[in-house]
């Protein structure tokens, strides 16, 4: 990032620019998804009609209804047009519009992902601070070891282990699902019930990012705490605690934000796996069932919406990063 005109753009203009840059990306994604899915073998009709031979007229009717008999390019153009109008098609499998279906699931996945990210960030920063403060002591070594190991454990295995220990052996938490099925809870009980069901999947999902955040926080704090700026501040009598918090952490925030933005795509992947282990009815599970059912519209819808979410998150992190870091000029 070379610095050009010193007047620069305002933050708002930078944001708009980034948004504008995102649009061709989105269109490219739509095209890729669409082509990909339509090149695949397997006829979605037969997956829809059940176990016995289907009368030919009905199959034809379904085919027309879902537009499967038309030329691929026509379908693509129509599709792009539809997307921008908010119409992502109709799910064969669930009989509701794709947009409704995916957004409904997306909310559940986002709850899981966001709480994991928040949890991981807080815990990770705590561990990272401890590690940096007690650098090169046993505490530091444990933190580093933990972070490397935590980063190496596959998220679906940690999920299974958590179930084995906390749900099966200790019986403290349910082994899966969104909520208790039978009880029609309301109010506080409802939220408490949901929260209990969310704890284990959230832990499984956040393990990797706690590990990552710990390491990043530690490294960045160590870098910052030893810089000349800090020495100068200390010599002016500012307490080490003040230095730690005001200068060190603030500058560490940036790499953390970057990490989260960069890793968001992986968090999405992780949640697909975690949802499967815990039977959490979110987008990840929907993805898998849609693949088995050859539910084309839903599949395209998921890929598209998830990619857009990623783009938005990347956008936000870029903007937040630009906001926090005074050194960045808005290019």
């Amino acid at each position: 990032m070379s610095s050009s005109n010193s007047g620069g753009r305002s933050l708002g203009q930078y944001a708009l620019l980034r948004i504008a840059q995102a649009i061709p990306l989105i269109i490219a994604i739509i095209i890729i998804n669409f082509l990909l899915i339509n090149l695949a073998p397997g006829d979605p009709i037969t997956a829809l009609v059940g176990e016995f031979p289907v009368p030919a007229e009905y199959a034809e009717q379904m085919r027309t209804e879902f537009g499967l008999d038309q030329n691929i390019f026509i379908r693509l153009v129509k599709y792009i047009g539809n997307v921008f109008r908010g119409n992502l098609g109709f799910s064969f499998n669930y009989r509701i519009p794709v947009l409704t279906l995916v957004l409904g699931r997306l909310a559940r996945t986002m709850i899981l992902m966001i709480s994991s990210i928040v949890f991981a960030t807080i815990i990770g920063m705590l561990f990272g601070i401890l590690a940096a403060k007690y650098k090169n002591t046993i505490i530091d070594n444990i933190a580093v070891a933990f972070s490397t190991i935590g980063y190496s454990i596959p998220v679906f295995w940690s999920g299974q282990i958590l179930i084995l220990i906390f749900a099966i052996w200790l019986g403290w938490f349910p082994s899966g699902g969104l909520q208790s099925i039978r009880a029609d809870y309301s109010g506080f009980q409802f939220y408490w019930d949901r929260a209990i069901h969310m704890i284990l999947p959230m832990l499984a999902l956040s393990l990797r990012y706690i590990a990552l955040t710990t390491r990043v926080t530690r490294t960045s704090l160590i870098e910052n705490l030893s810089s000349d700026f800090v020495l100068a501040a200390k010599s002016r009598g500012i307490s080490s605690k003040g230095v730690l918090f005001r200068h060190g952490l603030r500058n560490s925030l940036m790499p953390i934000v970057t990490i989260i933005g960069y890793h968001f795509t992986f968090i999405v992947a992780g949640s697909a796996l975690v949802e499967t282990v815990f039977g959490w009815p979110g987008v990840g599970r929907l993805l898998y069932t849609s693949i088995s059912a050859r539910d084309y519209p839903t599949l395209i819808g998921i890929l598209l919406i998830v990619s857009i979410v990623v783009i938005i998150v990347t956008l936000l992190t870029d903007i937040i990063y630009a906001y926090i870091d005074p050194r960045v000029k808005y290019e």
Partner: protein, 523 residues
């Protein structure tokens, strides 16, 4: 003394009275309560008239009705039809419908609904009814409560094919004129039927709620509501059952591995048995150079340890003493054509036959649906066993939609593992496996097997309504089929249901999903 005797007498009387009252009370059906059933998949929609999918039928079997329902012994019992007369030659059926039946939206139910369903809806859209329809010549409705169906010739399974799973009666007043767009019609997602339960709501991917129909034409149901909870993950389903969040799991959705867990648990009742036989087997592609040789097929039959497969993939539940059309139907089972007698597990014998056929090493693949644990397990066992006789069986996982295209439409496969329901009568479900079939239609025989004699014999067998005579026909067929072995038959399924021990009245119909109106809670 006399006073004591009197007291004892009174007390005894009171006790006896109380005891018998208590006993009687506990066994008299009580009204009230919800039944929560767990299912493993989201139904595509809620219209049983246009699909034969298991979850759709499961949810709607008590919302819609058929002319008859089948009792545990398989016999047809009155449902919409109070009684029926059959002509001498078994080709004309006159059904007398019950009076005062109304649809859930209040409209009156008449014979017109039956005629409409049988002529315009089901033949167009319902896979199983199509077979029945081929035998129907004419349908008359002389009055609102009478339906006369004339068949082209006698069709043995006719009456039993009129249950709600094969011939659900659809409302003419809601579907007339809507047939071009039937999958968009309101009733496809908001069913309107005549059954003991009516539809309340469907939370997509979560659950379907039914409530008691207070205007049911028979005795009202005991339960207040029936809820179907959709739990795709089998481990969660088991948890839900264990913790009482659901009350009942049908075999279709109950993972066999969990049998030990519930077997001796006093909180649960476990039922094992065969209701509607279903056959587990693999198609042989007879176009394949080696597989086209009956010796090779017989060799592979010898190399397949069906007992082991049942033990490892079905927790030991299942019957491998079966012939080409299973072993549960008396009509089609003969000891002399039992595969465990004809082709017992014997790897040496298998190797011998291969040598005789001139086959040294064989590389073949088996198409399996990876979502079916039982079939995947069978494939892996077969892979291991066959490797010991020089046959390299590789597993080709194909999701259902892909499998349908490669196996049924293109016949591009070597072996393909499947399970087929008999539909309650061999003519309904099993004939299609052995008669000559064209390319293209899914869920019929895909082996390419074509034997004129078999075609003729089976067609005849379908028209004979008399048990012994019919059985003799099947004997002829089994003789040919058990030598030709166009299908690698594995076993016939034995089902397991698990339910809360306090439920009563379950499984009164042949199909375990039937007659939920007879279910009640003994608290």
């Amino acid at each position: 003394m006399k006073n004591n005797l009197k007291t004892i007498f009174i007390i005894t009387l009171v006790l006896v009275f109380a005891f018998s009252f208590g006993v009687v009370r506990a066994e008299t059906p009580q009204e009230g309560g919800d039944l929560v059933i767990g299912i493993g998949e989201n139904p595509d929609h809620l219209n049983p008239g246009i699909t034969t999918s298991y979850p759709v039928a499961a949810v709607t079997a008590n919302v819609y009705s058929g002319l008859v329902w089948r009792a545990e012994d398989g016999s047809p019992q009155p449902q919409l039809a109070e009684s029926w007369d059959v002509s001498e030659d078994n080709t004309v059926f006159t059904f007398h419908l019950k009076e005062n039946i109304t649809w859930h939206d209040g409209e009156a139910f008449t014979s017109e609904d039956v005629k409409f369903s049988f002529e315009e809806v089901l033949p167009e859209f319902h896979g199983r009814f199509q077979d029945v329809h081929e035998f129907i010549e004419d349908i008359e409705t002389p009055d609102d409560n009478t339906v006369v169906i004339a068949l082209t010739e006698a069709y043995a399974p006719f009456l039993v094919s009129l249950e709600v799973y094969d011939a659900p009666i659809m409302p003419k007043h809601l579907l007339e004129g809507n047939l071009d767009n039937i999958s968009e019609a309101d009733i496809t997602v908001e069913p309107v039927g005549t059954g003991p339960f009516q539809f309340v709501e469907w939370e997509r991917g979560d659950r379907i709620v039914l409530e008691r129909n207070e205007n049911y034409f028979d005795d009202n149901a005991y339960l207040d509501r029936v809820l179907f909870n959709i739990i795709p993950d089998s481990a969660s389903r088991i948890s839900a059952l264990e913790t009482g969040q659901i009350d009942y799991l049908w075999g279709f959705y109950f993972p066999r591995a969990e049998i030990p867990r519930f077997q001796d648990d006093p909180n649960f009742e476990m039922w094992q048995g065969v209701r509607i036989p279903a056959l587990w087997f693999a198609f042989f592609n007879l176009e394949h150079p080696e597989l086209g040789d009956p010796l090779v097929r017989q060799a592979l039959m010898h190399a397949t340890d069906r007992d082991l497969i049942i033990e490892l993939t079905q927790e030991g539940l299942g019957d491998y003493n079966v012939g080409p059309m299973g072993g549960a139907f008396d009509l089609t089972y003969f000891e002399e054509y039992d595969y465990s007698n004809l082709y017992p597990f014997d790897l040496d014998k298998a190797r011998e036959l291969l040598d005789e056929a001139g086959v040294d090493e064989l590389d073949i693949s088996v198409v399996v649906d990876p979502n079916r644990d039982d079939l995947m397990g069978a494939a892996e066992i077969m892979q291991d066993l066959y490797s010991q006789i020089g046959v390299n069986l590789s597993i080709d996982t194909q999701e259902r939609a892909v499998m349908i295209e490669s196996v049924y439409e293109n016949r591009d496969y070597d072996l393909s593992l499947q399970s087929f329901t008999s539909g309650g009568d061999p003519a309904v479900g099993y004939h299609r496996l052995y008669i000559t079939q064209e390319f293209g239609t899914p869920f019929v025989g895909a082996t390419g097997y074509s034997n004129e004699d078999v075609d003729r014999i089976l067609a005849e067998a379908a028209t004979i309504p008399f048990h012994d005579e019919r059985k003799e026909k099947y004997r002829e067929a089994m003789d040919i089929l058990s030598t030709d072995v166009p299908l690698l038959v594995l076993y016939e399924e034995e089902s397991v249901d698990v339910n809360d021990v306090n439920l009563r009245g379950l499984r009164q119909g042949l199909d375990v999903r039937s007659r939920l109106d007879k279910v009640w809670w003994a608290q």
